[in-house]
Symmetry: C2
Subunit: 108 residues, 2 copies
C-alpha cells in the first residue's frame, strides 16, 4: 500500500489538482459569504477587530492548507475532506489505496 | 509657554478627553462605513486578504493614536487634527498655549 500511495501518475495528479480547485472554490465562496455577513453586522470598532482576528486565523489556515506538493498531498486532501470542503466522491478516480489513506487520515 | 503646556488642569483634561472621544467616534464611524463598503465589493479571496491587510494597518494606527497619557497628549491631539478627526474648534476650551502647540504640531 505504501508503494501505490507514494507513486503518483499524471492522471492522479490531475485528479488531486481538480479536487484541490473544487475545495478551494467551495471554501473561498463560503468565506466570502461569511465575511460579507459579518461586515454587514458590524456596529462598533470591537466588531471590526473581531473580524480582523477572524481573517488572520483564516488566512493562516488557508495559506497552509492548500499545499499541492506531493509529499504532503494525501494529508492536505484528508484535511479538506475532514473539514467538508471535499467529499471522498470527489476523489473517485484516485487510486483506491490513496483514497483509503485519505479516508483514514480524515477520520483521525 | 512650556509651563502652561506641561500643566493640565482637571477641566483641560476633561476637554482633551471629550475631544478624544469625538475623534474616536468620527474615525470609528468612518472605518465601519469603509469596511462595510469594501466587504460588499469582495469578489474573490484576494479581496479578502486585501481587506485583512487594510485592517492590520488601521488597527496598528488606531491602537497607537488614541494615547491618553499626559506626556504625549498634545502630540496625540495634533495627530488627530492633522488627520481631520478633530478640528481646532473642538479644543476651544483648552488653554490657548496648548491649542497653539497642537496647531503647530498638526502643521508639521
Amino acid at each position: 500500500m505504501l508503494d501505490s500511495c507514494s507513486r503518483w501518475t499524471h492522471a492522479e495528479e490531475q485528479v488531486a489538482r481538480t479536487a484541490f480547485d473544487q475545495a478551494y472554490q467551495r471554501e473561498t465562496k463560503s468565506l466570502i459569504e461569511v465575511v460579507r455577513e459579518r461586515a454587514g453586522a458590524i456596529a462598533e470598532l470591537d466588531d471590526i477587530w473581531a473580524l480582523h482576528d477572524f481573517l488572520s486565523a483564516r488566512r493562516f489556515d488557508i495559506d497552509g492548507k492548500y499545499d499541492r506538493e506531493q509529499p504532503g498531498l494525501l494529508f492536505s486532501l484528508a484535511q479538506l475532506v475532514k473539514e467538508g470542503w471535499l467529499q471522498l466522491d470527489d476523489l473517485q478516480e484516485l487510486d483506491p489505496n490513496k483514497r483509503a489513506k485519505v479516508s483514514a487520515l480524515a477520520n483521525m
